[in-house]
């Protein structure tokens, strides 16, 4: 059901293939697919609409590079736009008070208490000594939960078991921090629905009483269309300073991030990605964009290809392939091109359709070393004409490359298979399929 965008676009882009320029006509289907992908990723309905309209405008009339298909280029435009929307000003926490106060807010079960612990742990590891304030007086064992976390990370927790007034507890916690010299107070609050007037009034009162430097809204990354309403309502009441996305260690696409960002225009300051106290990270807009689009990382592939892939060399190789003259030396060149682009597993993972299949495959650039060594131990003649390699020559090559004759045979076999495939593909007009036949 949740095909990744790239897979979808592979289909949609059939309409684009062979056309050098993105035009109004060939773009319609693609835009539809992108919109659907965004909806599947839980981006809000209206925001998805606005977003795709914008992307369409951007894409119209762009020239398509030869080494990149129009589809890939389009994907990159989508991704760039998304990254920009998600990112904007990257801000850390603004901590200036004495003590600095951070108020944590959000829906029930979104991950506030866990995040409070993580944030405290983060400050502690930087040598600051935060104080946690337990202001959830409702949820069964909420105070215990924070105390257990505090103990785990070695941070003090201010709690008043008998006190049912969060405003008072928060104020006293700050007084306590002043007394003890804690530079930071993190105030954990009860989960609340944004339409629960009494509870929203309560947190507004906490805010007024303690004048926090930061008000962070913790949102579950799995949130659907409701993210917009919740973020808007919380922001209206609290004027939040930032957002925390939790549970990103799941496989949710996390479109809520885009919805929230678009609605409240506040930076996403942290992501929470696990139950352990260390599972906290700053927000990476680019990663989030690829994640929402569910497309491996075709964008970086395109970028890397644009940076590194030599157009002329590509054309030369294509020509040789077309004439079935592709030899071991070309193979070596190509390997080196690929290596220039980065880690091979990452690269292969970026190719739509391949990503999943190699997830558990143990591949790294080292795997290429053996192949390279073998080819490098051959004479130029042998490279162009592998048929020359008889038993003697093979054992020489094996010795020279520190491998076995079997390894050499295996490589040769693979190479022959590859050639055969190229021949077959040539019949299907490979040149065109590879994106232009200049």
């Amino acid at each position: 059901m949740f095909d990744s965008l790239s897979k979808r676009l592979e289909g949609a882009f059939k309409t684009l293939k062979g056309q050098g320029r993105i035009s109004e006509i060939n773009v319609a289907e693609t835009v539809k697919e992108i919109r659907r992908a965004l909806l599947d990723a839980d981006v809000n309905y209206k925001i998805a609409k606005t977003f795709t309209d914008k992307v369409k405008e951007e894409a119209l009339g762009q020239n398509v590079l030869t080494s990149v298909s129009p589809g890939q280029l389009f994907t990159k435009i989508v991704n760039d736009e998304l990254t920009q929307l998600l990112g904007g000003e990257t801000e850390g926490l603004k901590l200036s008070g004495n003590p600095s106060v951070i108020l944590i807010a959000g829906l029930q079960g979104s991950g506030k208490t866990t995040f409070s612990g993580k944030l405290a742990n983060h400050f502690k590891s930087k040598g600051q000594k935060p104080l946690l304030a337990a202001c959830d007086v409702y949820r069964p064992a909420a105070i215990n939960q924070l105390q257990v976390l505090g103990e785990q990370i070695g941070v003090d927790v201010y709690a008043e078991i008998e006190n049912k007034n969060p405003v008072e507890i928060a104020k006293k916690a700050i007084a306590e921090a002043k007394r003890l010299g804690n530079p930071i107070v993190i105030v954990d609050t009860a989960g609340r629905l944004s339409i629960d007037q009494a509870m929203m009034d309560e947190i507004a009162a906490v805010k007024t009483a303690i004048q926090p430097n930061e008000i962070l809204l913790v949102v579950d990354a799995m949130t659907g269309q409701d993210a917009v309403t919740t973020a808007e309502n919380f922001n209206n009441v609290l004027d939040i300073t930032g957002v925390v996305l939790s549970k990103l260690d799941g496989d949710t696409r996390g479109g809520a991030a885009l919805s929230i960002k678009s609605v409240v225009q506040r930076p996403i300051k942290f992501v929470s990605h696990g139950e352990k106290m260390e599972a906290l990270d700053v927000f990476h807009p680019d990663r989030m964009a690829s994640r929402i689009l569910g497309m491996g990382d075709i964008v970086s592939l395109v970028e890397k290809a644009q940076d590194n892939f030599d157009e002329v060399e590509a054309a030369r190789l294509r020509k040789k392939m077309a004439k079935n003259k592709f030899d071991l030396d070309d193979f070596l060149n190509q390997l080196q091109q690929i290596k220039k682009m980065g880690n091979i597993k990452d690269l292969m993972g970026m190719i739509p359709g391949v990503g999943n299949k190699i997830k558990d495959l143990d591949v790294d650039n080292e795997s290429f070393k053996g192949i390279e060594a073998i080819i490098q131990s051959m004479t130029m003649q042998e490279r162009t004409n592998p048929e020359l390699l008889n038993g003697n020559r093979k054992s020489r090559v094996a010795k020279g490359s520190g491998s076995s004759v079997q390894d050499v045979n295996k490589l040769l076999k693979q190479f022959q298979d590859m050639r055969k495939m190229m021949k077959a593909m040539n019949k299907m007009n490979m040149g065109k399929m590879m994106g232009g036949n200049k």
Partner: protein, 331 residues
Amino acid sequence: MGIFDFLKKKKDHESKAIQEKQSSPEANLESGLEKTKESIFGKLGKAIIGKTNVDSSFLDELEEILITSDVGVETTIKIIDRFEARVKRDKYLKADELNTFLKEEITAILDENKSPHFIDFSLAGAAKPYVILVVGVNGVGKTTTIGKLAYNFAQHGKKVVLGAADTFRAAAVDQLEIWSQRTGAIFISKGMNTDPAAVAYEATVAGVDQEADVIIIDTAGRLHNKVNLMNELGKIKRVIQKKIPEAPQEVVLVLDASTGQNAFEQAKQFTAATEVNTLALTKLDGTAKGGVVIGISDQFKIPVKYIGVGERKEDLQLFDAAQYVSTLFNA
């Protein structure tokens, strides 16, 4: 290509009773879903009024309503198709008939999975003890739902055992213990950081020995993409079966109404790990609609049985498809 084969081959050789929230309004399904209804019905009403056939602008409105309720693209298309087919077949005369068609079609999707042997809180015709295993991702409301279930069974005069098999999350055991105190349920725990399967087993044994009517096992929240944690659920289920081979009669997957399309993946993985046969949809008292259950229920053939509409012990109801759908669309 050849190059990938090559790489692949290479690899081959290698306690404290805390007060309940006082502030929450008298929550029940009606008031819980009221907010839902207002926004949706307003729009749908506008879409219908003055229209004599299902034109594309109506369908656009419908699409928006369904998508913004988290129904998802695929299920939305399915609903629209069914709806159009129905309109073609039955012809409609008035706007409110359109409305009725729509409700009936969605209700039908949900009701197709209704269990023929429905067991309510009276446990009529149920095995004794009736074992319920509760699973789901983090923070969806498993423990709270268990507390509410215990309350409802107790209200029907049933003897309830709660097994604290979430031994991982900070203060999880304490939280369930408070719920057992609130509801008078027997509480079985081996403390934090103990083997969850051992707790489940002990709770099952205690339930049998003490002739309980219901045994409910709480488990730690876990994301469905974590293989080891998912396998642990299988183990919990197996140890329960060591004592009672037919148990657990109910494996409840708890879904949070505010969750979007990821709930599909949750349903898929949890079902694969524990053969989920019941869905609970929580937090319906909020602004989220939980529309994703329509597609899940349809695709996995699992009925929604419980809904959560608040944080108090009274805030649990048996799911009624027609009521759910009608509150989605109309008064």
